[in-house]
């Protein structure tokens, strides 16, 4: 089979989490609202109604532009995209792709330590459509316009992506940026982040691009990678048989694991775009109501900046820093918990030590539990202060790793404090040497064979004897003391 270069460009839609919709004052948050409850004459497209643009949505568009290092257009124009569909009440969508607010910019992705700049073509602002519901029984469809008029950003990349994996990483990075900016929930499963891909193949080294296919309906990061991998295979097969790729839109069917043709180029709509006469064009440098300097002040520390800071400030590995900063809320949880550990303030060395331990706990224990149960870090019941206490108890040898995990599990479920759990479950560590000596004596007398083994040089036997002591104390003996005393006893004998 010939070798092909893969060329992918993405169109990503992100719903903005503004309080009100794009062109009316309806609540932008419809979860739990009955069908068509979150609507008004404007978003229902009633006669005589006019759109008034949401200032916050425009400001957030500029904010994203700044985060992407893009150019703010001197002038941007809303326009109408005309087509008929029952989920589009005005029979046109107000969008802004012809004279978009944001031009250019880029996101640097990191694929296994290979850095690559993915250029953005432009970002434009538009409104979302409603939803159609097709009941299984009955020959009718229902229209729910709660979502109609939700502000939507469309982020269009240049065809810079070279593999399905890069595409997936790009969308993940973009999601982090959107969340860091606080402008979108950017959740693919909930549909407030959606991704369409244009993908084509060309013989390796060839300059001209091949015929592209648009792939839709990829509703998770996994799906992006799977769908595009499938599409690469499909196109490779066609090309290697010397057949031509048909320019078309294909939908990913996750259950079937393949893309299916939806409509060809010939069937494509003529959307008859023209400037939206109901909304004056926006010139941010002239228009007094938009303050670009003020918006620039809103720019937070972005994911990449935070990751680099975590690596230097806390001496974390790149992998750990990446894990912690991929989710802004997790990064916040980490830093707030760390600040609760008393010795950290003013001592960089201790801070780095504690940070490493905390990072391990968060990444291996907490994330596993959260992901396992599908809970967001924001809903985590463990208070920062309690997590800090737990880390302290482990560090000072007051509890063993095993007990710590038990306490952690209980904290995760109930959100109760460390001391409270230790007291209730009798989990405090036995550090009293006399008490431990009594147990060691008993173990030695009950395991004479193992004691002989140890004396004849079998190091393994020592571990076995430690295990016996720990078993007798139900894991509550301080392991360091057990080690020390057992060695003394055996060497004495």
């Amino acid at each position: 089979m010939d070798k092909y270069d893969i060329v992918i460009g993405l169109e990503i839609h992100a719903q903005l989490r503004t309080e009100s919709k794009m062109f009316c004052t309806c609540d932008n948050y419809s979860v739990g609202a009955g069908p068509n409850k979150n609507t008004c004459p404007i978003c229902l497209g009633m006669p005589g109604m006019l759109p008034v643009p949401n200032k916050k949505a425009i400001e957030w568009t500029y904010l994203l532009g700044m985060a992407l290092g893009a150019k703010v257009a001197e002038k941007f124009c809303f326009e109408r995209k005309n087509y008929f569909y029952p989920d589009l009440p005005k029979a046109y969508q107000i969008t802004s792709s012809t004279m978009p607010p944001i031009i250019g910019g880029s996101v640097e992705i990191d694929d296994n330590d290979v850095l690559k700049k993915i250029r953005i073509n432009h970002v434009h602002l538009e409104e979302d459509a409603g939803k159609l519901i097709h009941p299984k029984i009955g020959e009718y469809s229902l229209v729910d316009l709660n979502r109609a008029g939700t502000p939507l950003l469309e982020i269009v990349t240049e065809p810079d992506l070279r593999s399905p994996r890069e595409a997936r990483i790009f969308v993940q990075d973009l999601r982090s940026i959107l969340r860091y900016l606080g402008i979108s929930d950017a959740n693919m499963e909930q549909g407030n982040l959606r991704c369409d891909a244009n993908i084509s193949l060309k013989p390796q080294g060839q300059k001209e691009l091949g015929t592209k296919v648009e792939v839709k309906n990829m509703n998770s990061f996994k799906m992006i990678e799977r769908a595009l991998e499938h599409e690469v295979k499909r196109q490779e097969e066609i090309l290697s048989e010397n057949k031509k790729i048909v320019q078309e839109t294909r939908g990913w069917d996750d259950a079937k694991g393949k893309t299916l043709g939806q409509r060809s180029k010939e069937e494509a709509n003529d959307y008859r775009y023209f400037p939206e006469p109901d909304i004056p064009s926006i010139e941010p440098n002239k228009d007094n109501s938009i303050d670009l300097k003020e918006i620039k002040n809103w720019l937070p520390e972005l994911p990449k900046e935070k990751r680099i800071r975590f690596e230097t400030e806390y001496s974390l590995s790149k992998q750990d820093a990446d894990n912690l900063t991929s989710d802004l809320d997790l990064a916040r949880y980490f830093e707030q918990t760390l600040a609760e550990i008393p010795q950290v303030a003013g001592n960089d060395e201790i801070k780095k030590q504690k940070a490493k331990k905390l990072a391990n706990w968060l990444i291996t224990e907490l994330l596993a539990k959260l992901n396992g149960q599908g809970i967001s870090i924001l809903d985590c019941k463990i208070k920062h202060q309690n997590f800090a206490v737990l880390i302290e108890k482990i560090d000072s040898g007051k509890i063993s790793g095993k007990i710590a995990k038990e306490i952690f599990s209980e904290m995760f479920v109930s959100g109760r404090g460390v001391e409270e759990i230790i007291k209730e479950k009798g989990l405090s560590l036995i550090s009293d040497e006399k008490e431990i000596e009594t147990i060691i004596r008993a173990v030695i007398s009950e395991n004479t064979a193992s004691v002989q083994d140890y004396k004849s040089g079998k190091e393994k036997a020592f571990g076995y004897l430690v295990g016996q002591v720990m078993a007798k104390t139900k894991g509550q003996a301080n392991p360091q003391i057990v080690n020390k005393l057992l060695k003394e006893f055996l060497d004495k004998e």
């Binding site: 004459p41 006019l50 759109p51 008929f84």
Partner: protein, 488 residues
């Protein structure tokens, strides 16, 4: 001149000589007598109007009138949404449509205390220059019932001329306030685009639509503008510019001021009687101390083609929402979605709406956009510059409103192009966005009213009203001011 001006009626109400309820009943009686032959309303609202008049009467007695419009009976063109009152746009498509909201202009008038008489007939969707496109029948001209009242705000102009209401609110996209006002011998103001909110106006050409009053006198127009003009948060194209006290400003002398005169206008097939009437008006302005300056509007001749590209483009998009899904006409027995769209729109829209949808769809289509829509937008900019340049030299421009006086019913309805040319002097002003006042300046040999228009700078309604009012005062005693419509 009629006694039924807002200014005069208000004085009577204030002095408790006139009763809003009695006034409203007089209007209803007039409607009883002549509406069958005139057909100036699609819907008459005596229940709502009488209730409002009674409230006004109470306020009048307590000396707590809300405004000078309090208790005045008003007609509203049926393209403005009125809460809980059927609003049809004179189209079968919206025959059963009752909005849950008021247009901003209606709300402002209600807040000022008006009593609503009903919804005035017009061409369906405001498409036309004669009201012959109404699905509710033509509105006849009160001066000659065999003639049209003009359009699209024909019902508004006829109702005011026939005293079925004291004033009406119309919309003007290419001449729809000014032309019927001229045909019916009343005053009509098309304000600057952005001066009066379009919120609740059923859109025709969104970048051209203007909301304005149709009244008996310029002073009344000035008074209504004080109430309806101004920035509206619900219409992003309205502008934050202070609304002057027009009724005071119009009292100023026009001595030493300059009026632009466009020679070419009178070489564009204007009736002899109209030219003569406007030349007479010119003399009166000169007596009042104004100076005439010749100005040129070289691109104005492209006004009609440019207008019919931009307007139809916007119409084709604005009428998309009438698809038989959510409200309005809903075709029966469709087998699928596409068929339902086709049937609902085919049966619900009339010939003129379909013509404009097709034209507009064509000029926006891929491959034709640059040749038509885009080019028209460029010419529009040139026309705008034309007017700005001319108005740099003068305060206002005087021009005919129409090439002819009111034409016979049926005379042009079979020839859309002839009908479109009725807008030849008005449409380019909508493209430019300037304010323009249409007011009577005499009668032709058939004793049909002749109108002239005074065009002003952007947001300078003050000047056009000032010139109009001073002209009106100077011609108060003219014999033609005594003429009465056949409906009186």
């Amino acid at each position: 001149m009629t006694e039924n001006t807002i200014i005069k009626l208000n004085k009577k109400i204030v002095q408790n000589e006139g009763s809003p309820v009695r006034l409203y009943q007089q209007v209803l009686k007039k409607i009883d007598n002549i509406e069958d032959s005139l057909n100036a309303f699609v819907t008459i609202t005596p229940k709502e109007g009488l209730a409002q008049a009674r409230e006004s009467e109470k306020r009048a007695k307590e000396g707590k009138l809300k405004s000078k419009l309090d208790g005045i009976p008003v007609g509203i063109k049926d393209v403005f949404c009125t809460r809980h009152i059927r609003t049809t746009a004179s189209s079968k498509m919206l025959d059963d449509f009752t909005p849950a909201y008021d247009a901003t202009v209606v709300k402002k008038l209600k807040d000022a205390g008006i009593a609503i008489v009903g919804k005035n007939n017009c061409d369906a969707w405001a498409h036309g220059a004669s009201t012959e496109n109404s699905d509710y029948g033509v509105t006849k001209n009160p001066w000659d019932l065999t003639r049209v009242s003009g359009g699209s705000s024909g019902g508004s102009a006829a109702a005011v001329a026939a005293e079925e209401c004291i004033f009406s609110i119309g919309s003007d996209t290419g001449g729809s306030i000014r032309q019927p006002a001229a045909f019916c011998g009343v005053v009509g103001l098309k304000p600057t685009y952005g001066r009066v909110s379009r919120y609740g106006l059923i859109a025709m050409g969104s970048s051209l639509d203007c909301v304005g009053p149709i009244t008996n006198t310029t002073e009344d127009a000035a008074l209504v503008m004080e109430t309806i003009a101004g920035r509206d948060e619900k219409d992003a194209t309205t502008v934050e510019i202070e609304v002057p006290k027009y009724t005071e400003k119009i009292q100023n002398s026009i001595r030493g001021k300059k009026i632009g005169w466009v020679k070419e206008f009178f070489q564009m097939g204007v009736d002899k009687d109209i030219t003569e009437a406007i030349e007479k008006a010119k003399k009166i302005f000169e007596i009042l101390g104004a100076k005439f300056v010749e100005v040129e509007l070289p691109y104005a001749k492209y006004g009609i083609p440019t207008y019919y590209i931009i307007q139809t483009a916007e119409v084709s998009s604005n009428l998309g929402r009438y698809d038989g899904i959510k409200y309005g006409f809903n075709a029966k027995n469709s087998d699928n979605l596409i068929e339902h769209y086709f049937k609902s729109r085919d049966e619900g829209f009339g010939a003129e709406a379909k013509r404009r949808i097709m034209l507009g769809t064509f000029v926006l289509s891929a491959g034709y956009y640059d040749a038509y829509y885009n080019k028209a937008m460029k010419v529009r900019t040139l026309i705008k510059k034309d007017f700005n340049k001319a108005l740099d030299k003068v305060d206002v421009i005087l021009s005919p409103v129409t090439p002819t006086t009111a034409f016979k019913i049926g005379e042009k309805s079979q020839d859309p192009l002839q009908m479109y040319l009725a807008d030849v002097f008005t449409a380019s002003i909508n493209l430019a966005g300037n304010p323009s006042l249409s007011l009577p300046c005499g009668f032709d040999k058939n004793r049909l009213p002749i109108g002239m228009q005074i065009i002003g700078k952007h947001f300078d309604e003050e000047s056009v009203l000032n010139f109009g009012y001073q002209y009106e005062k100077a011609t108060e005693k003219e014999i033609w001011r005594q003429y009465k419509p056949v409906t009186s």
